[in-house]
């Protein structure tokens, strides 16, 4: 591949790719993303290739291994273009039928179509409610791109924003556009990216760095992984444009080691960009040179904090430092360093390409553009969703997410990861943007949105986050290290039924100290999950502390499992599956759980056939006495065995 030396070369290249493709239709399968792979999409990809070859269609149909398509729970997903037919949960054995019926015969395979409400089958991707209500401007190209192919990206107009910036705009012009667009950081804080860029640009010193933060440590968020895996060039293009505006010639991408596929796809993307002359010396003949290095993390949540991340890039321990001088002025090797999150960088080419006015036309007053959320937990359609800023929680959870699983009752939604908080039902109509979420006691964070139903215990959720944070606190400053640990001890006590009156007040007091005196954002925001659960679900804390009852039936020490003698049909499944052999009873005999042996793993309630429903979970009341040994079962509906 000869290097592209001018803007005209790039345009010509794109036209060349497009002319070759005009006649071809293509099939996308999400086998280049981790969630797709975990559902076996690689096998479907292989089967598609083989079957298309067998039917002699290789010349007319291209199979494209794409990254995450967002609708992860319905993986493997096969989309057929240009019709954009969407098949869900496809197995390798379905492939011959798809090729035969749809690609050759032009007919739909009904049983593989997504089934909407009322059992109606929906053929087109854009008609599925999950996709219909989204605005996928950043994430949408995933379905059109094989992330391992730079040609796919160029065909969609990729790198034209970079060309525009380098050829037609001055660095100041680029900076002004990003400032005018009011792009705010998608990693958590929501700090205006343009202002940050300007600080680094104006900071003294010749050497400057630009960095992509792909540490994505928030449990429950995975949009950065999906973007890096599925569309690495968009992030890279944004980074190069940023480097040009700031005046940096070296960049880093910090990726957590839990994302091996993201590292793989990004490495390929960097090499391709170098081959095409879009990275390296004298990019597109503009005289601007830029190089990028990938730095893998090694498993530490706190290393996603900017100063910690920069320490890690230098090969030192990824611990934060006090930021009297910001990293934008003194970061990597004490040089001005601009750090932005993956999603922020991916927005940059769009803003340069379409202009600041287009971008500010989307979103709310203070928060422009779209945001990708990972809508997960107890919601029907889990996956990645991209919506304009300002859409209400209710629309995201019900219109896009399809409501709560198994018709259960919504209890809360947790946003912002361990630094965020939970929001109750009364706030479902809250428009989601940076400022509104912060006002409600939570935060945008990187965009995790974990939906919880009546079976989720709010005290346990707070305990879960503090347990996470106490493990991830680097221990450098006392308020965070000791404060979180003490708060966790109190929460553990409450969950174990040892709560004391006054615990809630003590938690609030400790929260204030940890928040006000910790060194970095990890500690400063650590109390949020506790404070927000106390604020909105105080009665659950009181039930745990005063009545020793867990209303959701989650806290193990406060629940017992019991087999209702009248309902037990002696099918013996629970006795067989119980991992600690705590269930006794034989053929025709009522089964009994030995409360002393029971580890409360919940297997019995899971395996008891729903038509019997004999196992119940009790909390806050004593377990009824077991029937005498040898009691025979009462057969339901007169059935005899």
């Amino acid at each position: 591949m000869a290097k592209l030396k001018t803007l005209a070369d790039l345009t010509q290249k794109r036209q060349g790719i497009l002319s070759k493709r005009a006649e071809k239709r293509y099939v996308a399968i999400n086998s280049s993303g981790t969630c797709g792979l975990s559902s076996g999409s690689d096998k479907v990809f292989q089967a598609l290739g083989e079957e298309i070859g067998k039917q002699g269609l290789s010349g007319q149909v291209e199979v494209r291994a794409t990254g995450c398509l967002g609708f992860c729970e319905n993986s493997p997903i096969v989309m057929i273009f240009p019709e954009s037919i969407c098949y869900t949960k496809v197995k390798p054995e379905d492939v011959p039928e798809i090729v035969d019926q749809t690609l050759v015969g032009g007919k739909l395979v009904e049983r593989l179509l997504y089934q909407g409400e009322n059992g109606k089958r929906i053929a087109r991707e854009g008609d599925i409610p999950f996709y219909k209500h989204q605005s996928r401007i950043v994430f949408g190209n995933n379905r059109l791109i094989d992330p391992k192919s730079i040609e796919d990206y160029i065909a969609l107009g990729g790198y034209s924003a970079l060309a525009k910036a380098l050829v037609e705009m001055s660095p100041e012009g680029v900076l002004d556009t990003v400032k005018k667009a009011n792009l705010r950081g998608r990693g958590g804080g929501g700090f205006p990216a343009g202002t940050k860029w300007e600080t680094t640009r104006n900071a003294p010193g010749k050497t400057k760095y630009v960095i992509v933060n792909a540490d994505e440590g928030d449990p429950g968020a995975y949009m950065d992984r999906s973007l890096l895996e599925g569309n690495p060039h968009s992030v890279l293009e944004g980074l190069i444009i940023g480097a040009y505006a700031i005046g940096a010639h070296e960049g880093y991408v910090y990726v957590r080691q839990e994302y091996p596929l993201a590292v793989e796809n990004l490495t390929i993307a960097l090499n391709q960009a170098r081959q095409y002359g879009l990275l390296g010396r004298n990019i597109l003949g503009s005289g601007f040179s830029f190089e990028v290095t990938i730095h893998r993390g090694a498993g530490a949540f706190v290393s996603g904090e900017s100063s910690a991340l920069m320490n890690a890039i230098e090969g030192r321990v990824g611990e934060p430092r006090p930021k009297y001088i910001r990293t934008a002025v003194s970061g990597v090797r004490e040089k001005p360093s601009n750090l932005n999150n993956v999603e922020t960088w991916a927005n940059v080419p769009l803003i340069i390409d379409r202009g600041a006015d287009w971008f500010t036309g989307i979103g709310t007053k203070g928060s422009k553009g779209t945001k990708i959320f990972s809508l997960v937990g107890k919601v029907n359609n889990t996956g990645l969703v991209e919506v304009p800023m300002g859409m209400t929680l209710r629309r995201i959870i019900y219109d896009i997410g399809g409501g709560i699983k198994q018709g259960k009752k919504f209890k809360a939604v947790q946003t912002g990861g361990p630094s965020g908080g939970v929001l109750p039902e009364s706030l479902l109509d809250l428009p989601v943007d940076f400022d509104q979420l912060a006002e409600a006691g939570s935060m945008m964070g990187s965009g995790g949105m974990i939906v919880m139903d009546e079976d989720s215990c709010m005290v346990d959720v707070a305990r879960y986050f503090l347990d996470f944070l106490s493990g991830e606190s680097c221990g450098k400053c006392v308020p965070c290290r000791e404060g979180i640990r003490q708060m966790l001890r109190i929460l553990n006590r409450i969950c174990e039924g040892e709560g004391k009156s006054g615990d809630i007040g003590l938690l609030e007091e400790l929260s204030a100290v940890v928040r006000d005196s910790s060194l970095c954002a990890l500690g400063q925001t650590a109390p949020n999950p506790v404070l927000s659960t106390i604020k909105y679900f105080r009665e659950e804390y009181i039930a745990h502390i005063e009545q020793k009852r867990c209303p959701a039936g989650v806290c193990k020490a406060l629940v017992s499992y019991y087999i209702v003698p009248d309902k037990c049909q002696a099918c013996q499944i629970c006795a067989r599956e119980c991992p600690v052999s705590a269930i006794s009873g034989g053929k025709n005999l009522v089964h009994v759980i030995d409360q002393g042996k029971c580890t409360k793993c919940g297997t019995c309630i899971e395996v008891c056939p729903s038509k019997f429903d004999a196992v119940v979970k009790l909390s806050g009341k004593p377990v009824p006495a077991a029937p005498p040994p040898g009691t025979e079962v009462t057969r339901s509906r007169g059935k005899k065995r």
Binding site: P219, Y222, G377, T382, I450, F465, P579
Partner: protein
């Protein structure tokens, strides 16, 4: 020079014995040997001219590193928030019973190491179990047994 150390030297040379590549070098050694031995860390310290104390600081700080031997097969249970609300603790209990080791432990025959991770980014598929790089979405007790039995 032992064979093991010459492999370590190769890794270090690949990174030009650059101090700022220390974490990357340790990651590759961890992947190669499954743990970091004292002799290996001495070697890294010597060749990179970084004090051993700093190398220990790093290798105890990050979760990816292990200063004790790990098993041939790695079994991880994701405890991320989405997995947690969908029953990851119960999945962990089941895996613990099936492997007869607790999280963080390695079986006596060094066959398995059970670890918990904070988020693998497969949140829509939770709760997630990973055995030797293969992802399992909400596996049943039978699937867990099969996944473990497939490890030789």
């Amino acid at each position: 020079m032992s064979k093991r150390l010459s492999k370590i030297d190769q890794i270090i040379d690949k990174h030009h014995a650059d101090k700022s590549e220390l974490i990357q070098i340790l990651l590759e050694i961890q992947q190669e040997n499954h743990w970091l031995t004292r002799s290996v860390l001495d070697r890294v310290s010597q060749k990179l001219e970084v004090p051993l104390s700093q190398i220990y600081h790093i290798s105890t700080f990050y979760k990816a590193f292990s200063l004790t031997p790990r098993g041939r097969h790695s079994v991880s249970v994701c405890l991320g928030t989405a997995c947690h609300v969908r029953g990851a603790p119960r999945l962990l209990d089941k895996v613990t019973v099936a492997l007869k080791i607790r999280p963080g432990e390695t079986s006596a025959d060094r066959k398995f190491t059970l670890i918990t991770v904070n988020c693998l980014g497969c949140c829509a598929m939770g709760p997630v179990l990973v055995v030797n790089g293969e992802y399992y979405s909400n596996p049943s007790p039978t699937e867990i047994k099969q996944a473990i039995a497939a490890c030789k």
